[in-house]
């Protein structure tokens, strides 16, 4: 089958590549661009470990062909921190609140949380849980992930973070 020329922007960098139509975006990112942050955790588009931000949308990159991303702007976890390396409030929050253990779901989770906070800068706990329902975690039980996102929301809004009393 003939290959396709794709042009897209990934983490701000212009990319030109030749891909098989069936190449999944997750494999394109991980294997051709060596962006191994997003991970593969399932075969049925449930786990969200592969989540990237594509044209301002949270997308499971395992369920998109690279050819569909032609002309798109893609952000992966590698593009979340600032250009000078300063960690994003979410990355700081995940560490502060112990929102990760094995780290495997973390890139997808943070990338999704990034878009969630763009959609809704001041989400309630219920809205956070609903907002990350497309990202599975086996280690943390989500409770500290919620706190991490709340931490980041507060930081981005410039308000002090109040951990809810247990």
């Amino acid at each position: 089958m003939p290959k396709f020329q794709v042009s897209l922007k990934v983490n701000g960098k212009a990319i030109e590549a030749l891909v098989e139509p069936r190449m999944l975006l997750i494999h394109f990112l991980r294997e051709q661009l060596n962006l191994t942050g997003p991970h593969i955790g399932c075969d049925t588009s449930h786990c969200g470990a592969c989540t990237v931000d594509l044209n301002g949308k949270s997308v499971k990159s395992c369920t998109v062909f690279a050819v569909q991303a032609n002309g798109a702007e893609v952000m992966t976890i590698e593009g979340v921190a600032a250009a000078d390396g300063t960690l994003h409030a979410l990355q700081e929050g995940f560490r502060e609140m112990h929102g990760l253990q094995c780290g495997f779901c973390t890139p997808g989770m943070i990338t999704r949380a990034y878009r969630l906070l763009q959609e809704n800068p001041n989400p309630t706990e219920e809205e956070i849980r609903f907002g990350i329902a497309g990202n599975l975690c086996r280690c943390t039980g989500y409770q500290n992930i919620v706190k991490a996102i709340q931490y980041a929301a507060a930081k981005l809004a410039g308000v002090p973070f109040q951990e809810a009393a247990e």
Binding site: R22, R30, G41, C47, H98, L100, C102, G103, A133, R138
Partner: protein, 806 residues
């Protein structure tokens, strides 16, 4: 005293030692997507392997035609059992004393069993090639129900051993029988039941489930022909064991095998044993002379790698009429699948199941376990089980509730009456375990007060009346569980894996500038070892935790260890860490004495320094002593500041906990809402409370999944019905309840820092707590036992059976 000197407390805080909520070291790379997992590895010339798998649960292989696959451009080779036979690797030994096919040899014994391994230039071609291998099968009748596996005339699962009267664990009573194992005193137990006032008997089933870590099993094998050396990266919870086993079966000398476990995306016992994928990748690398990567997908992981549980426990308790337990009997059929690959210590084919008397003072008990073969994937010990402790805890906690119901006693009150008392510790159970320490009544009291248990029972009573009057269609359930688990395998007299004693290790080297490195035989898959072991060292040696780097997983550099599973890292390597520190500290003390020109005994330790007794302005900090160790040691002493300790624990440890859960069941749909879940854990000394809390949250979430919906289910033909995440219930953030976490601290008297381990406690105690809660909701209507999982349709069916939908 110089009033510029920071106080002991200030200095201790700066160290970030034990007891601190030290932020995790590993997070820095993970939050930036710079973890180093197996599938991130890219080696020059690397090939990809993929499996052709059997659609049948049981079938003879008439023919395998690999020609179309081999002809596909980009395919390098295809391995079958025939190929592996030429290097004597068609079968491999298991951790349980059995043998297992690496690739199907004449027969397939479970659905999705590996039949051929294709090797190709990239993973897309490998996937195509795997589809092109043509296999002719002759389906055979299947053995799916373990209760029928030993029926006369049942289909033979294992033709290779069908005429063997004994297995690795003694006599076999049927060709599908694996082992019989028992513990306790049958005569005493039978006698107790003979004269009992009250008895209960129930078949308590712990269904087959699967740990399902988010990262599947994978490896990269790279054989260097020139050196004759194999390097193997992989998802290995026990890298040294993999190296030793790998050497024994491949005949490559152990010193020429380099096993590296990099970052692992969750293990939960799924990544302990050796899988066909590892062996095939190794052979492929040897055959092709290039590195070979194998990464399984989720369906492969769920349907063929180490499952958990599948214990069918016919359980009886005997008691006096005023509620004192007098006896326990349990007969279990254990479904091990087609090969016994159960990751138990050698002498324990049913693991530590005899912890089944739990937290209660049983004067007599007896258990008998029969393992059987079926046409299902091999495994059994996994998923935070502490070697079958989850099965034992579920059994006893459910059975205690059933007995409480029969006695018309409150389940918490019944437990209080039978909990081992503080004065009885160290407590020798009738199963032979010596529980080192515990204060159960205090913990139970604290739990009950924290949730206002009395008020919950009053609310429940009122709701039951309202239900009977037709005012509500919701039933409230209160689940109680008081578990004792046995972890920290283990003392060499009791525990070995393939003959290697289950000690563990720590090697610590302090550099001249007072920072250092610690390498251990354990292997974190998310437990935060890079953070916590350094905290132990910080407290022991008075060096800031930030100054200690922790390494695990490289068998060339790490001291030999048995790996991380069964909550053993803190009890065993944590102890080794403390012991190694104490050797270093002893040497440092001598150097300090020499430098301060006093006798060793004239010095006392103060957080991060040795100071002269009665003269505290004369001191040497550990940082100063590190420098001194490299240039100013007493005459006759070796320079340097390091130590290694291989720790053979004198006993297991016995973490315990009191969990209470409140649920509301919607009788008309069978949906259960978890209203609240309170977990009190006692893991002895608490190294990092933040990490402990994280472990509890995670373990409880797994317990929630297991109790409320997880099942690896087979139909009568042996087809796996729940092989993907469409149907295998992994809760999202929406379903997952909020967790309330509490603790008591009863240090272990035999552990150098009094720590017990905690990783598996929440799964051990969580599942029975959820299950007891759902059962409790229906108990007032006469229901005694509803089987797990408590998913919607089963709960609805239980309600239907009770006539609640009329």
């Amino acid at each position: 005293m110089n009033d510029q000197t920071p106080t002991s407390i200030e200095r201790a805080e700066k160290l970030q030692g034990m007891g601190c909520k030290r932020k995790r070291v590993e997070d820095v790379r993970f939050v930036q997507g710079r973890g180093n997992y197996v599938d991130d590895l890219k080696l020059p010339g690397m090939l990809y392997g993929d499996f052709t798998r059997s659609p049948h649960a049981h079938a003879r292989i008439k023919n395998i035609d690999t020609s179309k696959a081999t002809a596909l451009p980009g395919v390098i080779a295809v391995l079958t059992a025939e190929t592996l036979k030429t290097v004597n690797l068609a079968w491999m030994p298991t951790l349980a004393g059995d043998v297992q096919m690496v690739l199907a040899d004449g027969k397939v014994l479970f659905q999705n069993q590996e039949v051929a391994f294709v090797i190709a230039e990239d993973r897309y071609v490998a996937a195509d090639a795997a589809e092109l291998v043509e296999v002719e099968y002759e389906p055979l009748p299947v053995v799916i129900d373990p209760m029928k596996a030993m029926s006369p005339g049942a289909p033979v699962v294992r033709e290779d051993i069908k005429d063997k009267p004994t297995g690795a664990h003694g006599k076999r009573k049927h060709y599908n029988h694996i082992f019989s194992w028992q513990a306790g005193d049958k005569a005493a137990s039978d006698a107790a039941f003979e004269k009992a006032d009250v008895t209960i008997k129930e078949l308590i089933v712990y269904p087959r489930c699967h740990p399902c870590p988010l990262e599947t099993c994978q490896c990269v094998a790279s054989f260097d022909k020139t050196k004759g050396e194999l390097t193997l990266w992989g998802t290995f919870q026990a890298p040294h064991v993999i190296r030793t086993v790998g050497s024994l079966i491949s005949k490559i000398p152990e010193h020429k095998i380099h096993v590296i476990a990099p970052d692992i995306g969750g293990g939960f016992g799924n990544k302990v044993g050796a899988y066909s994928g590892y062996i095939c990748a190794i052979v492929a690398s040897i055959v092709t002379g290039r590195p070979v990567k194998w990464v399984e997908d989720r369906i492969e992981n769920l349907s063929t790698t180490a499952f958990a549980r599948d214990f069918h426990m016919m359980t009886e308790i005997a008691a006096t009429k005023d509620g004192k337990v007098t006896g326990l009997r349990c007969y279990t059929i254990a479904d091990h699948g087609a090969f016994d690959a159960c990751a138990n210590a050698t002498k324990w084919p049913a693991g530590l199941f005899s912890i089944i008397t739990g937290s209660y003072d049983f004067p007599a008990a007896h258990v008998l376990v029969d393992g059987v073969y079926t046409n299902k994937a091999p495994g059994g010990v996994a998923y935070r089980c502490s070697f079958r402790v989850t099965e034992a805890a579920y059994c006893i906690e459910r059975a205690m509730d059933i007995m409480a119901q029969k006695l018309k006693m409150d389940p918490a009150e019944f437990r209080m009456k039978n909990l081992i008392r503080r004065e009885q510790f160290p407590y020798k159970s009738v199963m032979g375990w010596e529980y080192d320490s515990g204060d159960y009544h205090t913990a139970m009291q604290k739990a009950m007060e924290s949730v206002n248990y009395k008020k919950l029972r009053e609310e429940q009573k009122a709701k039951q009346e309202a239900f009977k009057r037709g005012e509500t269609r919701e039933l409230m359930g209160i689940g109680v569980a008081f578990f004792t688990e046995i972890v920290g395998a283990g003392p060499s007299r009791a525990c070995d894996i393939l003959g290697i004693a289950m000690f563990d290790s720590a090697e610590i080297r302090i550099h001249p500038t007072g920072t250092g490195i610690c390498r251990l035989g354990t292997k974190s898959q998310g437990q935060g070892h890079e953070t916590t072991y350094a905290q132990i060292i910080a407290t022991e040696l008075g060096l800031p935790a930030d100054n200690i780097v922790v390494e695990e997983g490289n068998t060339d550099t790490a001291p030999y260890g048995l790996g991380t599973y069964g909550s053993r890292s803190t009890p065993v390597s944590g102890a080794a860490t403390a012991m190694a520190c104490r050797k270093i500290k002893a040497k440092a003390q001598m150097i300090a004495a020499y430098q301060l020109e006093v006798h060793d005994d004239d010095l006392e330790w103060d957080v991060d320094r040795f100071r002269v007794k009665g003269n505290p302005e004369r001191f040497k900090t550990m940082t100063e002593l590190a420098w001194a160790a490299y240039n100013n040691v007493p005459p006759g002493m070796e320079p340097g500041l390091e130590a290694v300790n291989y720790y053979d624990p004198p006993n297991f440890t016995f973490p315990f906990g009191a969990y209470i859960c409140v649920v509301d069941v919607d009788v008309d749909t069978g949906s259960t809402k978890i209203r609240r879940f309170y977990a009190l854990d006692d893991c002895g000394t608490r190294i990092n409370p933040m990490i402990i809390e994280g472990q509890i949250h995670g373990g409880l979430t797994e317990a929630f999944g297991i109790a409320m919906g997880q099942e690896i289910r087979y139909d009568e033909a042996g087809n796996v019905m729940t092989a993907s995440l469409m149907d295998y219930f992994l809760p999202t953030a929406v379903e997952t309840p909020k967790w309330e976490v509490d603790f008591t601290t009863t240090p272990s008297p035999h552990h150098p820092i009094g720590a017990k381990g905690v990783g598996e406690s929440p799964n051990v105690g969580g599942v029975p707590c959820f299950s007891n809660a759902v059962n409790d909701a229906f108990a007032f209507l006469g229901s005694t036992h509803i089987q797990m999982p408590h998913d919607q349709w089963r709960t609805w069916a239980a309600a239907d059976k009770l006539g609640l939908h009329a």
